[in-house]
């Protein structure tokens, strides 16, 4: 199975950590293999066109920003 590349874009705030937890839960629920990276460098975040953190990028594409989404909301995004 193909490994999904997931990036959490956030500067280390509580919300960003919550998003990381939710994302890992979503990955585990679906029995997927994914590589989850937490990007904290604000310049890197800006380069991806994101202005409100936390944001979630899957395989290099930003799929959510500015809010914490639940594992249930993340799962359909992972299945694309």
């Amino acid at each position: 199975m193909q490994t999904i590349k997931i990036e959490i874009l956030g500067t280390g705030c509580k919300k960003c950590q919550q998003l990381e937890i939710n994302t890992k839960a979503a990955v585990a629920n679906l029995n997927l293999t994914a590589e989850v990276a937490h990007i904290t460098d604000p310049v890197e975040i800006a380069k991806r066109g994101v202005m409100s953190t936390p944001a979630l990028a899957i395989n290099g594409k930003v799929v959510s920003k500015g809010q914490v989404i639940s594992p249930e909301q993340i799962q359909p995004l992972l299945q694309h």
């Binding site: 509580k14 919300k15 800006a46 380069k47 066109g49 409100s52 914490v68």
Partner: protein, 332 residues
């Protein structure tokens, strides 16, 4: 005038006089009343307002703000930026992505700065505390002066043409964007929130804020209560009153390292104001705590040359100190 906080006052008075049998004018009685009145009042305000702000912030995403401010060159842009700064929530952690995102899309540097100054100064915690502790009038004055300062400073930075002191990679990003355009970032489908989701965000925001500040609030109010009941008035008036010309600058300097502890410090200043500390000094102090925060400076250093950071800090410092003096002069 209608006092929305009357029930809190009534309850605190009942507890002190009826339950504990203390006189409200005694040292211990007035201290206890201060504590029992302020703690529930401030915590209630914090919970309710941060919930509302968290719920409605999903209507004003930074992308929408950026679109509003794009290409606005003149004074109008600065005014608009500062006004939008009032209503958008701000976290110093997103200052850099916002800064780059604005410049990239062609929002002028001065206009970007007006936004960056107004947004943290008029943040929900500071506004809630000012309203709860000092009343609506003081809060509106604070917002008014804060926004004017953000407009004026941003305008000055715009006129000085300081673009050369922004780290060059920001402009390279801007150029790259003009070629590939923002299409890529904007292909993200606009998320449509249900009310349920908005309320969830509000609840998250509220519990987050309350969890991070409640201890400071309670401790600050406890110290304030002690001052309220036991410290003699002439002592405070002599050192922090309007007659001491050094009070304002000292308050501003003290405010800089206190970032995020505004929740604990404002209740102390409330007690000091009751004892004769002047209001302008408090306003200047609050602005210094919110607008001149050290962590934000450190973060902004990533995109700004030291010279521009110095201009930013200098303009704000001079502006805040002036506001303190003006306000003290107007009131005395």
């Amino acid at each position: 005038m209608f006092d929305p906080f009357y029930p809190f006052d009534w309850l605190a008075t009942q507890i002190v006089t009826q339950l504990l049998g203390l006189s409200i004018t005694s040292h211990l009685g007035s201290s206890l009343h201060f504590f029992l009145y302020d703690v529930p009042k401030v915590l209630t305000l914090l919970i309710v307002i941060s919930f509302l702000v968290g719920t409605f912030q999903s209507f004003l995403e930074p992308e929408r703000v950026r679109f509003l401010l794009q290409g606005k060159r003149t004074f109008v842009g600065n005014i608009l930026a500062a006004m939008v700064g009032i209503v958008t929530p701000f976290c110093s952690c997103s200052a850099v992505p916002l800064f780059i995102g604005f410049l990239e899309a062609g929002v002028p540097l001065g206009v970007t700065f007006s936004y960056l100054m107004a947004a943290p100064m008029v943040n929900e915690v500071a506004v809630i505390l000012l309203w709860g502790l000092f009343g609506l009038k003081v809060t509106l004055i604070y917002i008014g002066f804060g926004v004017s300062l953000a407009i004026a400073s941003g305008y000055v930075i715009g006129r000085l043409k300081l673009e050369k002191w922004v780290e060059p990679f920001v402009w390279e990003l801007q150029k790259a964007r003009q070629v590939t355009s923002l299409e890529d970032a904007d292909t993200l489908e606009p998320v449509t929130f249900t009310w349920r989701q908005r309320f969830e965000q509000g609840q998250f925001q509220s519990s987050e804020i309350v969890r991070s500040v409640w201890l400071y609030v309670v401790l600050g109010i406890a110290i304030g209560a002690g001052i309220h009941g036991y410290v003699p008035t002439d002592f405070i008036t002599r050192y922090a009153g309007a007659s001491n010309p050094l009070a304002v600058p000292i308050a501003v300097i003290l405010g800089v390292p206190l970032y995020a502890n505004i929740a604990g410090v404002l209740p102390i200043t409330e007690a000091l104001v009751n004892k004769g500390m002047s209001m302008g000094t408090v306003l200047a102090f609050t602005m210094a705590v919110t607008a001149l925060s050290l962590p934000e400076m450190v973060i902004l250093k990533k995109v700004l040359r030291t010279q521009l950071l110095a201009v930013f800090v200098g303009l704000m410092t001079v502006g805040i100190i002036s506001i303190g003096y003006i306000f003290n002069a107007l009131l005395t």
